[in-house]
Every structure is written in C-alpha cells, then in structure tokens.
C-alpha cells in the first residue's frame, strides 16, 4: 500500500496501539482526577514509574511475579496517592489550579530524584511473564502475545472505568460531586472521603500502566517523565475531564503517531503536538470537552 510494506505498516500500527494503551490509561486517570479534584496531576508520570518499580521490587525482594504485581502495584501506588491527597492536596482545596499543578510538579521531581539517586538512570529489565511469551504469526505480521495482552487489557480497564463512572450508582455520586460537591455532601455523602479515593484510584491506574509497561520499556526512574508530556498533550486534545474522550483520544493518537512513523518518520515525535496546537486553535475546550 502506497509503496509501504504491509509488514511495516501493521507493526507500526501495533506499536501505536501499545503506546495508545498507555496514553489512554494515563489520560483516563488524569481526567478522573481533574474532574473531581480540579487538579492537574503532574505527579502522574512519577506514579506510573513507581508502579513499574513496585512490580520490580515485588519480583526481586518478595518473589511475587507479574500477575501478583498487576494487583498489588496499583494498590500500593493508590495508597501512596491517598497519603498524598490526605496530607497535601486536601489543603489546596478552593485555591487556584496553579497551586495543585505546582505542588504535584514538585512532587514528581522529588519522587523521580529519589529513585534516580537510588537506581541511576539506566533501565532495569523485567521479564515478560511466561504465559505471555512468544507470539502469533498472523501471516501479514508477527503479533507478540504480550503486546496483544497489553492492548486488550488496557481497553478492558478503560471500558470498565467508563462503565463505573457513567452507569453505576457510585458513578452518579462522582458525577454529581464533580458538579456540586456541597449539595452532594448535604445529602449525606462523605464527599471528602470520595475525593481521596478518587485520587487514589486515578493514580492507581497510573501504577497499573507502569506494571504493564515494565516488560516492554524496562524499569527506569525517568520512564514517566518522558511519557507524561505526551500524555498531557493527549489530555488537552481530548478535553479535560471527559472520561470517554480521554480513552478514545489516547488510543487514536497512539495510532496516528504510529502511522506517522511509517509515512513521514521525521514528524513522528511532533505530530501529537501539532494536533494539539490545531485543536487548541479550533476547539479550545478539546475534542470531547465541554466549554466552561
């Protein structure tokens, strides 16, 4: 097709879907947090990195493998999030966005600095779980099992999160509290607790993405710092606070980035930012965002 070997096209498409999975999981967490706390969580990348490190610690020090880490690491990162919210973010309630942004940005630098000091900058390998090694020969391309798993699992987690927020009773509390926390609390709902758990859940998603990424990208202190800039561009394109928007935009931009690598490799690092600039010019609230 267009003089491009099918093999190259599909393997870049797959790579795009993989990156899209991470964009979607991370921007979904950011959207959930922004909706409820009105905080732009710059610590998200550092907590994603922490998820990968927890998986690595669990394997090295406790002999707990990938499947255990897939459950325990998000819980551990979520717990760190709960502590951050209770001890720091809660004090910023009612202040300008900028304070939350600065605080979480500072936190990201501190967390990354500590890990870098301890583990250096180079990556540490994390093996693909034995059940997911190897791959399928689809005829037109080779599909590694682990990568297929990442795409499918991320999609399932994103859809489950969307379902929980848009279709369940708990979700109706979340949406209502996003609109009018005072009134929801006056109905007898413990809104501060809900806010804390929402932050824990959002960063737990980042921790989960970290575990998923460990066998693909290695475990590095700066793995989140590199990714988070792109993820913020994704969030801006999708529109802050839109759940489905962040998921769709995450996957779509991963694919667009992958295709750019095939058709015009020089632009592959900038295409997302070009799209961001265009979206900001035409629809400043983002593709799925509601104008304030």
């Amino acid at each position: 097709m267009f003089g491009i070997p099918t093999q190259a096209l599909f393997s870049q498409l797959l790579l795009g879907l993989i990156n899209g999975s991470f964009y979607a999981l991370l921007s979904l967490g950011l959207a959930v947090i922004f909706g409820m706390l009105n905080i732009v969580n710059f610590a998200h990348g550092a907590l994603y990195m922490m998820g990968a490190f927890v998986a690595w610690f669990l394997l090295g020090y406790a002999g707990i493998g990938y499947w255990g880490a897939l459950i325990l690491a998000p819980l551990a990162v979520g717990f760190v999030g709960v502590v951050i919210e209770r001890t720091m973010l809660q004090r910023l309630a009612g202040l300008d966005h900028l304070y939350g942004l600065l605080l979480t940005f500072g936190l990201a630098l501190v967390i990354q600095g500590v890990f870098q000091n301890q583990f250096g900058s180079s990556g540490m390998p994390y093996a693909i779980p034995p059940q997911l090694t190897g791959g399928q020969n689809l005829g037109f391309m080779f599909l590694p099992n682990y990568r297929a798993w990442v795409v499918v699992f991320s999609l399932v987690v994103c859809i489950a999160t969307w379902f929980m927020i848009e279709k369940t009773r708990l979700g109706s509390y979340l949406r209502a509290a996003t609109e009018n926390p005072t009134l929801v609390r006056a109905f007898g709902v413990n809104v501060p607790l809900m806010i804390t758990l929402t932050y824990g859940f959002g960063v737990g998603l980042a921790g989960l993405a970290g575990v998923l990424s460990a066998p693909i990208n290695q475990v590095r202190p700066l793995m989140g710092a590199d990714l988070i800039i792109v993820v913020f561009a994704v969030v801006v394109i999708g529109g802050m606070g839109s759940i489905m928007g962040s998921v769709i935009t995450g996957f779509a931009l991963g694919v667009i980035e992958g295709l750019t690598k095939v058709f015009y490799p020089e632009a592959s690092n900038t295409v997302i930012f070009v799209i961001m600039a265009i979206v900001l010019l035409i629809k400043p609230a983002g593709l799925f965002g509601r104008a304030a």
């Binding site: 009773r169 109706s172 209502a176 009018n180 009134l183 929801v184 109905f187 007898g188 709902v189």
Partner: protein, 235 residues
Amino acid sequence: MSAEPLLAVRNLQAWYGESHVLHGVDFDVRPGEVVTLLGRNGAGKTTTLKSIMGIVGKRKGSVTFEGRETVGLTSDKIARQGIALCPEERGIFSSLDVKENLLLPPQVKPGGLSVEQIFDLFPNLKERLASQGTKLSGGEQQMLAIGRILRTGARLLLLDEPTEGLAPVIIQQIGRTIARLKTEGFTVLLVEQNFRFASTVADRYYVMEHGKVIDAFANSELAANMDKLHDYLGV
C-alpha cells in the same frame, strides 16, 4: 402544642467569609408542623436553612434536632440525622439523568417514600426518567428536587422557595404535595416570599429581618397580623 420541638434554633449566627449574616436567630419547629420563614430579600432566610444544614462558612449558637446538637457537625453528618434540603436553585445535576437525580440522595433513615409513591405525587417525572436532569421544565425540576429528598427517610424537609418562578397550576400542585406530606408525618420548614402560597400550607410563621427573627404568629392569627406583615415585607 406542648410537644418538644423537633428542631430548636437558639442564637444562631452565621458568616459568609468576613460578612456576618445571621445575628442570633431563635425559633422552634415542632414535629409534624409546617413552619414558614417570611422576610424580605437578604433578611437571612436562605442562610438560616443553609446554616441548619451546615453549609455556610462559619456558624455559632445552637441548632438541636431531636434533642441532639448539630452545630459542629459536617453537613453529611447532619443529613444523616434525618434533615434534607431542597435548595433555592434546585440543584438538579446536568450530568445525571432524571432517574439518577431522583435516586442520588442516599437513604439516611428508614421510612422514606418509595419511588412509586413519588411518581404518584409527581406523575410528570415518571415520563421523563431518561431525560437529562436540566432538560426538564422549571416546574418539573422543582418536583424532582422535592421528590428526591422524600425517598431518603429524612423527617425534616427544608424547602427554599419551592414556588419561585413557577406557573400557578404548578404552585397549586406543590401546595397539595406539602399538605399531603404533612398528613404523612413529615415536618417542613419553608422559606417563602409568596405568603399567599404560604398561608395555604403553613401552621405558623416567623418573620425575619436583618438576620434575626423579629416576629412570630400562627396561621389563625394571620388575618389580624396582615397590616404588620405588609409593613415587614414591604408589599
């Protein structure tokens, strides 16, 4: 009328930031009564309801409900004692459909109305369950705002200007609803500008001015107090 008050407000003071809005409000609401707070705009009626609910910046004094002090509790704890607010701006959530809005307030006590009983009071709601909450007409939104707090089991309902901006036929429907709630044993504290409406449902009135209660009378004394009332309300 010697029953212990369900709600006793004593020397209630409230602030929004620096501005001191309530300057020592005193009144009682007895079980099963419909009590109306009257007064001009800015007299502190809405703030009194918000202070009872615990959603003003700062409050002092005493508000006891069923004999228990509630000043010092957060609003979610106050709600769980069995008090529910229908706010002046109605507070319908636009990201929730009508059904979700109706089912949103959690049950705080046993004995609330069933959803079927609420549809019986407000048949319009039943036909609009899947609509976005804020797509309803003003009257339907008011019915939804009242309906959703009847499910919770709260025995004291704080209704802030439920007739504001509504057509006469809907005002009548809301009047019948309040009368019916009274027969079902609910206690209602109503804030109203429209005292012609209030006179169709209220047992007693308190008149507020400058963040204080300045007068009180029963519905039977309404005619005798009409001149005074016109003075107070400037109508």
